[in-house]
Symmetry: none
Subunit: 403 residues, 2 copies
Amino acid sequence: MSADLASQLSLDHGGKILLAIMDGIGDIPIPQFGGLTPLEKANTPNMDKLTSDGALGQHLPVARGITPGSGPGHLAVFGYDPVKFLVGRGALAALGIGFQLQHGDLAARINFCTLGENKVILDRRAGRISTELCTELVESLKGITIPGVEIFVEPVKEHRACVIFRSKGLSDSIHDTDPGLVGELPLGVIATAKGAEFTVGVVEDFISQSSEILRGKVPANGLLLRGFALHEEMPTLTDRFKLNPAAVALYPMYRGVASLAGMEQYDSVPADLSGEVKAAKKAVMDGKDFVFLHHKYTDSSGEDGDYERKVREIEKFDNAIPGLLECGFDVICITGDHSTPCPMKLHSWHPVPVLIYGGPQRAGWSARFTEREASVGALGTFHGHELMALLLAAAGRLAKFGA
Amino acid sequence: MSADLASQLSLDHGGKILLAIMDGIGDIPIPQFGGLTPLEKANTPNMDKLTSDGALGQHLPVARGITPGSGPGHLAVFGYDPVKFLVGRGALAALGIGFQLQHGDLAARINFCTLGENKVILDRRAGRISTELCTELVESLKGITIPGVEIFVEPVKEHRACVIFRSKGLSDSIHDTDPGLVGELPLGVIATAKGAEFTVGVVEDFISQSSEILRGKVPANGLLLRGFALHEEMPTLTDRFKLNPAAVALYPMYRGVASLAGMEQYDSVPADLSGEVKAAKKAVMDGKDFVFLHHKYTDSSGEDGDYERKVREIEKFDNAIPGLLECGFDVICITGDHSTPCPMKLHSWHPVPVLIYGGPQRAGWSARFTEREASVGALGTFHGHELMALLLAAAGRLAKFGA
């Protein structure tokens, strides 16, 4: 709603916006920290300064009580209602490696795995084989042909690859073939809705041919398919908000969701926060007026339940802020795509703290960027996809509604 | 949504409600006030008392990040979702001078202007001519005739007038002829959508005839048209909430939007807050059970960036409260139609503080009517068009939903 109106009212000029995502930043009290969250425990002098000169709030990525995947979480903060704009993991993986998906392509993630006798799964990740071996295996699969279907197989990282089927009439109503457990057989190709019969045949043929090719290869003698997703183009941030957007992210997944939103990718050299700051600076110098910058490791540490490491990752991000302040942004937003509480070791539904610095704000109400202060901040509690309107407004990029 | 339910559940009896609007009341911290807002800076013993005996909250007139014009801002607090009920400025201007618009009428605002050689605009407001001269010019334009179209030209104030075209098949997809700049020619009559060809011809004819009539008149020898709006009737507050509503407002614009909602106009003598209080009292004595009272100057001072004057206008309004308390209202709500932060000199998207006094409230939670206390008040944060349900509820005018 807010994003639709913002789309109608967007101006093609105004301030430059940085949207910095600390992935999975939201957390819950950690008993070992005496009930403080990692954000509360961390030493964050730079974010504290932005907080007292800016305003806090919190966003619900999807809806109350709903835990988002990384795709919906990011789409939301890019201004897309994730309930309307669904993107499968397979499509994100393909986009993330720079594969130019076309409207109607069916993408799925491949996990190379180790199968034992009778094809029982012994290791769902084939001992996390090297990316080099993954690339070799992918090459061997490029010989697969299915009449009437173009097939692209691409390596991703370690045991992960992806496959894209291109043909008319494909469906993504296909269940994962990965049962999610070792000691089980891979699942057959099962349609989850009517009209997927043709696709079932195509995928069965692909699995059958790949089984022949991989037979006897150690340790990766099988594959599992997950996250079937039909690619549908969506309006970009340029279409919707008249932005000239850029993305700075190290991981394929986040590059993928950014490219869905029409962002130009900027590479980080070195591949760490210092390189990301440099890339953000270059994007601004190139005339980009919206930069998405992604910090992954707050999420990884949360998923590992490593609260001490999450604190260090927050502090690392805080150290990068002076560099970001020098890039020439008019509005800086720091938030996450979802919460990943360390005690849960999982994504969660908890609201995600938001800091907006720049533009006219009810500043001076908050002192530290924490879940608790954000919950009573001047910006209030809102849906993730409403964030974009607040950023565009702060940057002077929205016209008035009505006379 | 809330207003739709409130409409279904409305009772034809209950308490009397005052909705007092301090136009543009919301603000942001003023550096010269040490970070206080005008509301925080002002001395407001009467509102403080209502606050501690009532409850605070804040409303979003349209949506997060969206800045409303005066029309949408007022419609919202009258219980109309402003995204569904759109009203153009021309229609508001016509309604504001008491012109009885009919369904399908096309209204536009006229600015008399000064044109130089080759018709270049020298002054978009013709030196703000007197209302007397405006009335004379309007009389001279009443000779214009266009076959098949009824034309009404009416003076508003100073250089401002309005024109209403009455015919079948009119469209308001017509661009302003005011380019918004001096040194430019008035724009031609441009359709902004298909199906406006007939209207383009009518408006061109009107401009052509008026040019002949105004030729050589000093300083107002031309006119600019703005805010084309087709009038569509909307359900009144009587239709929707079984109210018998009145409006007390000094300015045409606000009288206009009030009459759209079916409110009877009460004149203020003298034309200031003291007169407005008298008019409100008379309305209650006449049996009105809903009175909208409008205080303009908090907005004007905000638009001028004059934070000291905004404080004085807040204090003037506070001084009027004892008089309002004597009128016999059961529920008194004080809020704004939008924020007009002095540092911005513009309407803004910031939430607007709301005070409700009367009826069963979670009272005693707040001490002063300020943006900050309102942001964490008992009423919470809600959409402007949900306010009406809270007022009707407080006045005992809503039935229970479901058994």
